[in-house]
Amino acid sequence: MSDRGIRARHSYREATARRRLAGLLDEGSFRELLGPEHRVTSPHLAALDLPAAFDDGVVVGAGLLLGEPVLAASQEGSFMGGGVGEVHGAKLVGLLERAARERPRGVLLLLDTGGVRLQEANAGLVAVSEVMRAVLAARAARVPVVALVGGGFGCFGGMGIAARLCDAVAMSEEGRLGITGPDVLETTKGVEELDASDRALVWRTYGGKHRYLLGEADRLLEDDLEAFRTAAAELLRVSARPLDLEELEREHRQLGRRLAEFGGAADASEVWRAAGVERPEALPLLEAPEFLRAVAGARRGGR
């Protein structure tokens, strides 16, 4: 392995929400909307005497991607686990509504979130619902929406649904996507259901590779900002997922096949085996390019 390769990489996972945007968009092109100087912070966190963030944990704005205008939002996973509260959610909704009105080349959602922010529970749930509706409304207005999942907190809860409402999802192997996250699953159903400290099991289940193989993610990337940038631009270019009956019926058949084929799997590796991967136990060890070659014939769906 060349040492240069390791050194030159700028980790997407490690970057802050702002750094991710700066690395993703054309240099210096990002213009933030309702930026931190406006101090639109969460009144609900203040009521509980908890620290606020000037941007409530999400950066939204406009910029260029390979010269084309895009809108983008980036969640800060390390602030309240990227949880969606009233203000945080409203910023996402406003951005998506702006997209439906302005018709940019597309919208990028850099998701890094556990879902609803528990400290604003009910408001968070409604906000996530509004985000979901807004994603669909933007798509209905023919503005492609692309979700990027590669942050340290993954993408869980209702935002795990929201990610899959987008036209496309790009993930790194380190990214995680699901609805009931490992900690919640362990707490609710017990450690016998899932041991959240078993990192290999957690990533086998929620991680980018499994999602890619299922067709839940459209691209599987290295944990590298530049890789995300390239993938985002490409996914905006390839045709959007049409919001029509034909497309939905196609997806419906695919989801039905998935249930029939893999419904009995007790572990993601059984899915890989059933899908025809030759050495499923080796998959977690492979670097992204090798992995893509290894599963090329076994992958179900996705674009």
Partner: protein
């Protein structure tokens, strides 16, 4: 008057005769292990139950904890690391009463409770080398219970990469007519190498489960902070480059891991390859892989091994000490000796430092012990050979009119505040309070102030070698103590004065741009990166994987 000169040998023969009643063969039925120990042991015996930093004779510990206390009691336990719950149980059940040891790690709290309740008599807390030394002087075991990876029919032992304490223990026991019992994971027809000859071993028992080994030296690069990167930059540029440090030992904290991860990037940029950090007394730290791969490191001798590093070590025999099969041969006694006498520098993190530079990791309500750090972190007064780093340190600390000599570099790394805003610089070490509460003769100091050459914090480096008076030394320490109460009580003028003399050096004095202190400077930022650097040879334990 006639006198018998072989009482110990006769005693040994009697014990073996009793034991043969339980197991006529050298290979003992695992289910008879406790019976064997009951036959071998007598009340008050001094027993070494091998408990190393990593390797544990856990099956024999369990067997010993099940003996009948009416038959076997009041043992004097000698071992370097008291880590297992069974170790503590021996005292709770009255099987053992007295203890001489080095380090207690995970059992530090229970140990303090037992000592407080008078259930345990602590002889002394040693450094590793002191304890091994006493095995050959006045703490020779009557019976040693040791652990190895495999044995053959004759009882030759193969320890695998974690040889650690075994040679020191068996040598002391076997040659003073003691009895040696070994637990092994498996029997093999042919061993890859013989670490302990079968003639020194009396009984061998196959443990039903492999002996436990903990990955104590694996530091996930993902946890290294920016502040640690900054401190590591200061160490590389302000100490390693300045003194030309070529033989060294590192502690096991994240701050020293940061230094290891900076060598291929920042070190390379400073042109240090081939000039510093070529020879190490160090366990096979995974975070050293990038420095090895980029050609910084020429040799590493290890105290013990590290889980997951087996294939990597085997593939780098020019760097590591290995047997013909490629497996690491470690040896804690020799590596400690190497660290003490053959290294020019020791650097490690600590929790508390006082104004005299004394440092301690002791906290009230825990008896953690010393391990090996004090052997590394002490000037080797008996050293006579010279090296450029040793000579320069000696020159810096020389007083007019004294005989010129060299000096070891002993560097303590710490951030000025610990978690929860606990100041790391204190008027009085917690060690004093621990000594009072536990009725110890001395406060447990890890590294004494007069052995320390440099203190490094995020604020800068204090070079204590250059200080001429106790006051100057205290002011230099205040000069890097940041915003702690001791730091804020500094005389700004005096500290500026020390800066002019190069006694206190800030990052800017060293030409270090603090903005570069980001994690991007680390050669590896995740365990996965380490696997990449190793070309897939490093096989990290599960808890460090996300794949």
């Amino acid at each position: 008057m006639s006198r018998t000169w072989d009482q110990a040998r006769r005693d040994r023969a009697r014990r073996l005769a009793r034991a043969r009643g339980v197991s006529p063969e050298k290979w003992v039925d695992p289910q008879r292990a406790t019976a064997l120990l009951e036959a071998l042991l007598e009340p008050g015996d001094r027993v070494c139950l091998e408990g190393d930093n990593q390797k544990q004779a856990d099956f024999l510990a369990r067997a010993l904890s099940r003996v009948d206390p009416a038959r076997v009691r009041d043992l004097h336990l000698v071992l370097s690391v008291l880590a297992l719950p069974e170790h503590v149980e021996l005292f709770e059940r009255g099987i053992a009463r007295r203890l001489d040891f080095s380090f207690s790690g995970p059992q530090a709290v229970r140990l303090a409770q037992l000592a407080g309740a008078g259930r345990i008599e602590i002889g002394a807390i040693h450094t590793y080398l002191e304890l091994y030394a006493r095995y050959f002087v006045d703490l020779t075991p009557r019976v040693a219970l040791v652990a190895a990876l495999a044995a053959d029919r004759e009882g030759n032992l193969y320890t695998g990469p974690n040889t650690e304490d075994t040679p020191a223990i068996v040598e002391a026991t076997a040659f003073r007519d003691g009895v040696v019992v070994a637990q092994v994971n498996e029997e093999r027809e042919r061993l890859p190498r013989v670490d302990i000859p079968g003639g020194w071993v009396d009984f061998v028992v196959r443990a039903p489960t492999p002996s436990t080994i903990e990955p104590l030296f694996t530091r996930d690069p993902a946890q290294v902070s920016e502040v640690q990167v900054l401190m590591a930059m200061m160490v590389v540029k302000g100490i390693y480059a300045e003194y030309g440090v070529n033989r060294l030992n590192h502690g096991i904290g994240f701050d020293t891991a940061a230094i290891e991860l900076l060598l291929p990037t920042y070190g390379e940029e400073l042109g240090l390859k081939g000039k510093v950090c070529q020879h190490w007394a160090l366990n096979p730290h995974p975070t050293l892989i990038p420095a090895i791969e980029s050609g910084f490191v020429r040799s590493v001798h290890a105290f013990g091994s590290e889980l997951g590093m087996e294939a990597y070590v085997a593939a780098r025999p020019d760097v590591f000490f290995t047997g013909p099969d490629g497996s690491l041969r470690s040896n804690r006694a020799f590596s400690q000796t190497a660290g003490h006498y053959a290294c020019d520098l020791f650097i490690g993190s600590t929790l508390q430092v006082d104004l005299a530079g004394n440092s301690s990791t002791a906290t009230a309500s825990r008896i953690a012990g010393f391990g090996g750090a004090p052997n590394m972190g002490a000037d080797a007064r008996g050293r006579r050979h010279s090296s450029p780093a040793w000579l320069r340190a000696g020159r810096e600390s020389a007083r007019p009119g004294t005989m010129p000599r060299g000096r070891k570099l002993v560097v303590q790394l710490l951030e000025t505040f610990r978690e929860h805003m606990e100041p790391a610089f204190v008027e009085r070490l917690d060690a004093w309070e621990l000594a009072r509460a536990m009725k110890m003769e001395l406060p447990p100091v890890m590294v004494y102030g007069d052995d320390v050459s440099h203190i490094v914090t995020e604020e800068g480096i204090a070079n204590l070698l250059l200080c001429r008076t106790a006051e100057e030394r205290a002011e230099a320490i205040r000069g890097v103590a940041g915003y702690t109460p001791l730091g804020r009580a500094r005389s700004v003028r005096a500290v500026e004065n020390l800066r002019d003399q190069g006694i206190v050096r800030r990052p800017e004095d060293l030409g270090i741009d603090k903005r570069r202190a980001t994690r991007d400077l680390l050669a590896a930022r995740s365990v996965k990166d380490l696997v990449r650097w190793s070309g897939g040879l490093y096989d990290p334990p599960r808890r460090f994987r996300s794949w």
